[in-house]
């Protein structure tokens, strides 16, 4: 099963909903989507990992890489990750201290809009 990325707009944000297993095989697909979105000059990208079944350090690396790329373009990244089994992998790498892991896309969008 190939990793899928569905892109849609929410208010002034772009959401990338990721489906499938985020590993060395799936990472390039997500990386490319982030590169494309960054090039359009967006201010806020939401990575929705709700439908991600599996993530390892390679997948985490793409999320971290997305944060760096967006910040280099003066934009922000939010991560939606309600599933504890995925959240746990962020926590084991202390990345829950680098990212706020939101429960829903709504939460991520309102958190950014309220700043």
């Amino acid at each position: 099963m190939q990793l899928d990325v569905h892109r849609y707009a929410r208010d002034t944000c772009v959401v990338l909903a990721v489906l499938g297993e985020l590993d060395l095989a799936g990472a390039p697909r997500l990386r490319q989507s982030v590169v494309s979105e960054t090039a359009t000059g967006i201010r806020h990208l939401v990575l929705d990992l709700t439908a991600v079944d599996f993530i390892d350090s390679t997948g985490l690396g793409v999320v971290v890489g997305a944060l760096r790329r967006l910040r280099a373009h003066d934009a922000e990244l939010s991560v939606v990750c309600p599933e504890q089994r995925i959240r746990r992998v962020f926590e084991m790498c202390d990345l829950d201290r680098v990212f706020t892991l939101h429960e829903t896309v709504d939460d991520a969008v309102s958190a950014w809009e309220s700043v």
Binding site: A25, M92, L95
Partner: protein, 152 residues
């Protein structure tokens, strides 16, 4: 497949896979090794996920190592069910590395931390497996990860 049933009706034996060193096969490796580990019903459901994550990390390193020097021989993945432990082994024919030279991760708050996602794989293996043994030389690397199964 080489898995037999012991006198305690607890599976023992091993599964060995020779897998093309391509990322597309990681999902397959996780599925087979996870299913093998799950045969031991003493292993809590949460730990099966740990086995899948750990083998994904080790197999990813193996694929990357071989890709770096364009070696296309299969990587070997093995899952052994013994009386009191599950042992996952991944062997590659990459260029090898010095395990003691893997740098410590910088503090989370520093910008440097964001550049160290490659060290995360080894960190995860060490957090999740009960022991990690790394043997590496110029002809390749073998990683052996042990999950101790508490006796019922």
């Amino acid at each position: 497949m080489g898995v037999g049933v012991s006198s305690n009706a607890r599976p023992v034996g091993s599964v060995e896979l020779a897998v093309p060193p391509m990322p597309e096969y990681l999902q397959f490796v996780r599925a087979i090794v996870g299913a093998t580990a799950a045969l031991d019903d003493r292993l809590q459901p949460g730990r099966v996920a740990d086995v899948r994550l750990v083998v994904s990390e080790a197999a990813t390193n193996a694929i990357r190592a071989q890709a770096a020097i364009q070696v296309t021989t299969p990587i070997l993945v093995r899952c052994d069910l013994t009386g009191d432990r599950i042992v996952v082994e991944v062997a590659d024919h990459g260029p090898g590395f010095d395990p003691s030279a893997v740098p410590a991760l910088p503090e989370v708050e520093t910008p440097e931390r964001l550049r160290h996602e490659s060290g995360l794989g080894v960190s995860l293996m060490r957090q999740l497996a009960d022991s990690v043994e790394l043997e590496s030389g110029s002809d390749g690397t073998v990683v052996k990860l042990t999950f101790v199964v508490a006796d019922a």
